[in-house]
């Protein structure tokens, strides 16, 4: 009721209703919600692909899918999860929370915001629809390495266009976030008083603006190599496929941090709230985030140790990569120091956040192992790498997204999410996650190559274990769907400050957050 009178006071017309409300909305909360629903749908479709892959790998031999389709599945699983699930989910969080956290009434460019979202569904249709064109979807791996990507059927063209569209969407979203954070903060909210989630997103947005266009350039070169007679990567015309890897990973490595820095931000909001202590080392957190972002431009070739780089290059990229462990270590240290002697309680968001620290750190350590060039040449393209990046992307980005979702669901829906179901979701996820991905370390060290639908018999037991874990993990995610639906429908009313220790401007507005907030900027002291 309060929201309605508020709108009347400000003379707003009631907007379109039904579907048109969502298509034409310029409200950051509506758009944030749509981003998150979109990314959850993409998460489930990417998950179905992953489970098909795991079903095939349950036993040696070919049972479920043909090798050609298997390759399409691994490729599309990667593309859908990276560009369709993880990235839009973080943009959704940014849309919902950044204006609330900095005391702005909306994002800086509300109409552009609407457009950035509505570019995504067509891109998703192009990407998923490519399964049904002659030749099937792109099967070159999510990295779209030349020369495979130069040779494939029209599924590759659709993937390229989808990447173009998603890239434009990301860049517009990032520009919006930078402008909002830099220009629209409430009076008194200096940069160094900003919640860490805003800081990590500000830096992520700069990374997006810097590298998404490079990816767009790389896939455009593939497109012109395919259809317009250029030879950027076509060796027959004097091009070089290895150059594609350089350009791709110049985007690809910062992209890795694009997917993890906002996760760091979310965790840095949640840990202090449930340890009931201010974040330890706020300034060092900001500097650590910035140095991770800057270093990310100087490490791309560690993805290419096996391409025949000179030893000097291998050493440089090896040491630069290891250097990133320093700011990342600062962050892990600060989270643990925040918990140290805090009055901790383990509600669902805190469980996810501590789970994140535990499992993400394991993924970070395997990353360090992969950074050592002589070891990397052994584990290149094996399941060890698969284990590593799923530990940082699933247990890193995804777990932080769940932590954030449970943390802010009261603000979004006005109801507390079910603690019982939330905890069940957490414990099922973390147990099944480890059953799925921990054996992959052993598989990789024993030499099982990735992206291949069949394997030698000695890998059978660990693969069966990973497949069982994967199905458990996949089904556990449906618990989250139930939690969200229940939470939207009703439940315990959430107070404005839904969690006892939660700090920040977002907890000063009522729950659920009214359609319009901070029309008058709050004063921050």
């Amino acid at each position: 009721m309060a929201a309605v009178t508020h709108e009347q006071l400000h003379g707003h017309h009631p907007g379109p209703t039904g579907l048109m409300r969502w298509i034409t909305t310029t409200n950051h909360k509506d758009i944030g919600t749509m981003y998150m629903i979109f990314s959850f749908i993409m998460f489930l479709s990417g998950g179905v692909m992953a489970l098909t892959i795991r079903a095939e790998l349950f036993q040696p031999g070919l049972q479920v899918v043909q090798p050609e389709f298997f390759n399409q599945l691994t490729t599309m699983h990667g593309l859908v999860m990276v560009f369709g699930a993880i990235m839009p989910a973080f943009v959704g969080f940014a849309n919902w929370m950044i204006p609330l956290m900095i005391g702005a009434s909306d994002m800086a460019f509300a109409r552009m915001n609407n457009w950035s979202f509505w570019l995504l569904p067509p891109a998703a249709v192009l990407l998923l629809g490519s399964f049904f064109v002659p030749g099937g979807a792109s099967a070159a791996g999510w990295t779209l390495y030349a020369p495979l990507s130069v040779q494939m059927g029209m599924g590759m063209d659709l993937a390229i266009f989808a990447i173009h569209i998603m890239g434009i969407s990301s860049i517009m979203g990032a520009i919006n976030i930078v402008v909002t954070v830099l220009n629209m903060r409430a009076p008194g909210m200096t940069l160094m008083k900003m919640p860490l989630f805003c800081w990590t997103w500000l830096i992520t947005a700069y990374l997006l603006i810097a590298v998404m266009p490079v990816l767009a350039g790389a896939v455009t070169m593939i497109l012109t190599d395919r259809h317009f007679g250029t030879s950027f990567f076509n060796a027959a015309g004097g091009g070089d496929p290895v150059m594609y890897q350089h350009i791709f990973w110049f985007f690809g490595h910062p992209e890795v941090y694009i997917m993890i820095l906002p996760a760091f931000g979310i965790v840095s909001q949640i840990i202090p709230a449930f340890a009931r202590k201010p974040l330890f080392g706020y300034a060092s957190m900001v500097y650590a985030t910035a140095s991770i972002a800057i270093l990310s431009f100087a490490v791309w070739a560690h993805h290419m140790f096996a391409t025949g780089m000179p030893a000097a290059g291998q050493l440089f990229f090896m040491y630069a990569t290891m250097l990133i462990a320093v700011p990342t270590g600062v962050k892990v240290f600060n989270w643990v120091a925040t918990m140290w002697r805090g009055a901790m309680t383990f509600e669902t968001p805190m469980l996810w956040a501590t789970g994140f620290i535990f499992v993400f750190t394991m993924g970070g350590f395997t990353g360090l192992i992969c950074a050592i060039a002589p070891i990397d040449i052994q584990v290149q393209d094996t399941y060890y790498v698969v284990a590593h990046f799923h530990y940082v992307l699933v247990a890193g980005s995804l777990f932080a997204l769940f932590a954030g979702a449970y943390y802010w669901l009261p603000k979004w829906t006005g109801h507390m999410p079910s603690e019982g179901l939330g905890k069940l979701h957490f414990w099922c996820s973390i147990v099944f996650f480890n059953i799925t991905f921990f054996p992959m370390h052993f598989l990789g060290l024993a030499g099982m190559p990735r992206r291949i639908p069949d394997y030698a018999l000695q890998f059978a037991d660990f693969n069966a274990m990973a497949s069982i874990g994967a199905f458990g993990f996949g089904l556990s995610q449906l618990i989250f769907l139930v939690v969200v639906v229940k939470c939207v429908r009703g439940g315990e009313r959430a107070a404005a400050r839904a969690w006892e220790g939660a700090e920040g401007l977002e907890w000063t507005v009522p729950s659920p957050a009214p359609h319009h907030t901070f029309e008058e900027a709050p004063i921050v002291r």
Partner: protein, 208 residues
């Protein structure tokens, strides 16, 4: 917020938007700029000289593939068996060849036993250093050979002696030794029993 401040904020926002959009476009260009960068870095450091491959290969650029008729090499052929009930011999004892000349010689092998046997030939060279210059295009030693009972087979070796063969080498001995692959056919004795059993079964079936 008053309308003046509002207008100023909108102008600030637009200015920042423009700058960021320009940097995004510039980074798109930078992606393409990486192409000449890459080529230049490769050229300067000589890592991957894909534009002028002949410069990288240097002295190896021109390789003489002609037959060197000025030299004659005597190639002697030798055949050995290692615990294998076969007969194995070259059809000619020796041959004079020019370096660079494509030559084919034949070996004869026959199985003297009543069971199929699989063998693998392993070559060796005298002097040992000649092996590096003895390029076999085709050879029965590339594959395992399974001989049916009593089978006789003529098997070719096609080779070229590399003209880079050191001057002091004038005689090369090519020696093959056939080993039985026991993993494939178990032992000959067990194989004999198995074959006898198969024969009995077949004759039994024939009787019914």
């Amino acid at each position: 917020m008053n309308s003046h401040a509002h207008r100023r904020l909108a102008a600030d926002n637009r200015r920042l938007l423009l700058r960021l959009a320009v940097s995004a476009v510039a980074m798109f260009g930078f992606g393409f700029l990486l192409v000449p960068f890459y080529e230049k870095i490769c050229e300067v450091t000589g890592i991957n000289n894909f534009l002028r491959p002949e410069a990288e290969r240097g002295a190896r650029a021109v390789v003489n593939t002609q037959v060197d008729a000025s030299r004659r090499i005597l190639v002697q052929f030798d055949a050995n068996l290692h615990d294998l009930p076969w007969r194995f011999r070259p059809l000619q004892r020796s041959l004079e060849v020019h370096p660079g000349q494509l030559v084919q010689v034949d070996y004869e092998v026959s199985n003297t036993r009543e069971v199929p046997i699989t063998g693998q030939a392993v070559p060796s060279y005298g002097p040992q250093l000649a092996g590096r210059y003895f390029n076999k295009m085709d050879c029965f030693c590339f594959e395992q050979q399974t001989l049916a009972p009593g089978e006789r087979r003529i098997m070719p070796v096609v080779f070229v002696v590399d003209p880079a063969l050191p001057e002091e080498v004038t005689v090369i001995t090519l020696s093959y030794t056939f080993f039985e692959l026991r993993g494939r056919n178990t032992t000959t004795a067990a194989q004999g029993r198995a074959a006898a059993a198969v024969e009995r079964a077949a004759s039994g079936k024939g009787a019914t």
